[in-house]
Symmetry: none
Subunit: 223 residues, 2 copies
DNA sequence: CCCGCCCGTCACCGATTTGTCACCAGGCCG
DNA sequence: CGGCCTGGTGACAAATCGGTGACGGGCGGG
């Protein structure tokens, strides 16, 4: 589950990003309007959080731009008491708003509600570190990158590793989970699958940084 | 569920739009009569809300135009005490009216009543993006185009995809929903049906833009 | 009775995915 | 030093999958 946050206030931006990351979402940050639009195009996040007051290009304009090509849920961050802003934002197609300052708890609750309403929540928030899995689309997204398509077997393998992110997973167990094999012997299959997966997700497949070989198995690195 | 709201008073329009959006409807806005007619053609909403007093082209004229090609429920917004307007509106085929000012609660209640009466709500999501289904006529209408006749199976398939517009639907689930098959195996049927449906609804069937192949199934594009 | 539509079935193509084999490099140990 | 194991890699073949064209049986309307 990807969320784009655009706010020129670095402190607030990081607070939001931290809260969301902790909750298992993959967060994309930016500090101004034009960048937000560009990142939106590139990442196609599942939800967008926009600060209204940004220098250069306001949240309104960004919202308008996004609405021209997508019905993705948009949440605006407003200053309490600016009723006019609020009405304008909702008029431009924003889905919800939050008055600053707000609590992380409130933020999460509103975001969950928005995603539920948008029907996006089924796409389980399977994410850890810089890896986010989209079970419905059969893709992985590595922080800052474009989604990568995975084959069914690759998806299953990555899902198993993700479920145990940071810890080594026994080869035996991976064989059982991915192929349903009851006994060992078929190490070659796993070898190949890992190899193929690395070609797709590693920056340098010959020096694996994410999917590392561990004692008697493999592990997915977090940070 | 799509609702078109036409009102030249921006504040009122946005209030209505916000109320409806919160209630889960997809809202299409416009501020004058000609635009309303044009958007109606393009979007084929499930319900239309018209202000009577609009500069240029009155709500009456819009209502008349809509009635020439559709029996979609129409609600008029009137100023209290203008009995004559009211009579004229209902005479032109409007289904209900609301005196300004009104409360969001009232608005929602009346809209639900209208939709229930029109039998639109049971008939489920019949429109998304540029695709609108007519279950009675066994036709689809693509934005701006002429209705296309569908066979019963094609209709069922499109209905299933429409109910999950924008998201991928598993082949397995489609098989069960369309044919009532309990188990897999018969992928060939789905292949053919999709192929035949694409011939009818795609501008270029060899490069599907609407009914796209997705991971482990198909999906109907909305944007 | 014939005709057209609907739809299940088969056959084929090209692309993707997956299983298999052969080989290499490095570590360990007798 | 040489055998042996483990993990990585490239290459190839088999299997699968989606798209497409074609055939024909069943059925209802003229």
């Amino acid at each position: 589950m990807k969320i784009l946050i655009a706010d020129d206030d670095a402190d607030l931006r990081e607070l939001v990003a931290f809260t969301l990351t902790q909750a298992g979402y993959l967060v994309i940050r930016c500090g101004d309007g034009p960048t937000a639009l560009q990142r939106f195009e590139a990442e196609l996040p599942n939800l967008v959080i926009l600060d209204i007051n940004m220098p250069g290009m306001s949240g309104f304009a960004v919202c308008e731009g996004i609405r021209r090509r997508s019905r993705v849920p948009v949440m605006m961050l407003t200053v309490r008491g600016e009723e006019e802003d609020l009405v304008r934002a909702l008029g431009l197609g924003a889905d919800d708003y939050l008055n600053k300052p707000f609590s992380p708890r409130t933020l999460l609750a509103r975001i969950k509600a928005l995603l539920r309403r948008a029907g996006t929540e089924n796409t389980a928030p399977l994410a850890a570190g810089r890896v986010a899995l989209d079970l419905e689309e059969h893709t992985v997204t590595l922080a800052g990158g474009a989604p990568v398509r995975l084959t069914p077997l690759e998806l299953r393998l990555l899902q198993m590793l993700l479920a145990n992110a940071g810890r080594a997973v026994n080869s035996e167990r991976l064989l059982v989970q991915v192929w349903g094999h009851r006994s060992g012997g078929d190490r070659q299959l796993l070898k190949q699958l890992v190899h193929r997966l690395r070609q797709k997700i590693e920056a340098d497949p010959s020096a694996p940084a994410l999917l590392r070989t561990a004692a008697a198995g493999y592990k997915l690195m977090v940070d």
